[in-house]
């Protein structure tokens, strides 16, 4: 890796696999359940969170020496809130339909535990460049799971990807539907997102036994 030192690239790669915020730390589950019924909102959510976390980590890292520790949570909240409002307004301006679809969940990025967690655990104690990488890495780890879940839920639940009918049309009975295939309605419901996340956790832990907790 020319661009990044070994230590820096670890910041990005770790959250993607062995320290994934969703599957290992089990944070940010709420939004992963709510908006993954389709692939497009999952990707938009992943990008939004990546923006908020990358920029947020930079800002917090820049201010880390002047924030009084007693009120640091409030300061962090203000930073996240500001960034989330920016994202929200941008979406409303340029992708109104999508922002309708994501509704409150863009606003609820504020409460995403991963963001506050990284501010507290990393940005408050590290330099700007490393904080930025950490934010991007964790958001990417979050986004990857969102996209995997969104992929399966949209494919099996609606038979489409990005709204494009890949399995044929259920109304005209073409493609797979001609031989009796039907969409799995359960996939569209939030409980199934939880089960899909659970299956990802299961697969990941059985591939890497180090991740299995004691007891």
């Amino acid at each position: 890796m020319g661009l990044l030192s070994k230590k820096d690239s670890k910041l990005i790669m770790d959250p993607l696999a062995d320290n994934n915020p969703i599957t290992i730390q089990v944070l940010g589950i709420c939004s992963a359940l709510a908006i993954t019924a389709q692939l497009k909102p999952s990707i938009v959510m992943a990008i939004s969170v990546m923006f908020v976390m990358g920029v947020g980590n930079i800002v917090i890292s820049l201010m880390r020496n002047i924030i009084p520790s007693k009120i640091r949570i409030i300061v962090q909240l203000i930073v996240v809130a500001t960034l989330v409002i920016i994202v929200d307004q941008v979406l409303k301006a340029f992708a109104y339909e999508l922002s309708k679809e994501l509704s409150v969940f863009i606003g609820l990025i504020i409460t995403n535990c991963i963001i506050m967690g990284r501010f507290e655990a990393f940005a408050l104690g590290n330099g700007v460049w490393r904080s930025f990488l950490d934010g991007i890495g964790n958001a990417a780890g979050y986004g990857v799971i969102l996209i995997i879940v969104g992929f399966f839920r949209e494919l099996l639940g609606s038979g489409t990807l990005f709204g494009f009918p890949v399995l044929g049309s259920p109304v005209d009975k073409t493609g797979l539907y001609a031989i009796g295939y039907e969409n799995n309605g359960f996939m569209v419901l939030p409980p199934m997102a939880l089960i899909v996340v659970g299956i990802i956790i299961w697969v990941q832990r059985s591939r890497n036994k180090d991740l299995i907790e004691e007891n």
């Binding site: 295939y181 039907e182 799995n184 359960f186 996939m187 299961w202």
Partner: protein, 405 residues
Amino acid sequence: MGLKQKLHTLKEKYKGKKMAPAFNALHTFLYLPNETTHGGTHIKAADDLKRTMNTVILALVPCLIFGIFNAGYQHYAALDNTLRAAPLANFFTWDNFWLGCMTVLPLVIVSYVVGLAVEFLFAVIKGHEVEEGYLVTGMLVPLIVPVDIPLWMLAVAVIFGVVIGKEVFGGTGMNILNPALTIRAFLFFAYPTWMSGDKVWVHGAAERAQEIANGANVDAISGETILGSYAQNQEVVYSLSDMFWGFIPGSVGETSKILIILGAAILIFTKIGSWRIIFSTLIGALTMGLIFNGVVNMGWIGESSNFYGLMSVPFWQHLIIGSILFGAVYMATDPVTASQTNKGKWIYGFLIGLISILIRVFNPAYPEGVFLAILLMNVFAPTIDHYVLQGNIKKRMKRLKVKTA
């Protein structure tokens, strides 16, 4: 060399190999294992897991056979309404039996083949013995689905139910949720059009509707269940005796109340099913029915209300419509997922009955709430047990203090 000897040598040959559990399973399924315990004194009980499971299956067989006849009967009766005038005379016919076999037996076969394949796969991967747990589940599943459910849906649901409902928790005996009901819940939420409505309970109804939609000039086959009719405030065309004997549309094995009572008698007599759970479930259902009857009698709810139809059903009739009886006898009594303490069993069963009727009456989206109620109480069973145990410990501590003080 007999089959038993052959299996035994195969077993010896594959000892320690990856495929060993699969051979062992076949061996123990067909014969008593050769292994005996050595040293010490052991009390040998006749009711091992295998025999327990077989007794439950035995108790289910009457329901299955009746379900086979009923599948045929409902189909022909829907085509020719005059058959319903004398159900008994037109019920046990070869035509009914043949059609029933063609529709119900594939469900049984798919359920067993897919379920056991998953069990064998997991046994080989994890290197443990194949567990007997699926024997009963595999028989329950075809009895609690509509007769016309597409087989591939059943297969998908069975894979889901066995893997997510049982294997992830560690296999038979470790599961929180009843696997058969997990399978039904999956089907219900994944493919609701095949699990409810008036087109799935009678063989051929959905097909006929499709033909009519395509312009064929034939009569529609309607197969509304009794609960469905009540929920839409329609008149119920079946008599009480039809409901009791089971000449009504419904899931394959749930219709005949008399045979379910027979199964209950077998389970209670062999002490495999808990009579406490069965009776408390029925008491719970009756209580809720009485409350709803009371509300109607007080005039608190108008006839125009959506719930009026089901609320005004005489409370005892709730037991012979829908699947509350089947659920109480075969599902709620599952020893793994039910409460373990005697007091806990009363609470557990009572709440199942109560919630079943509550969902049945109040949620028009779920025409039958028994499976949801049982799954819900499965989740709460350990909590109930915990408090019963703690209560007992407290009581005894108090007694001890009084004595020593």
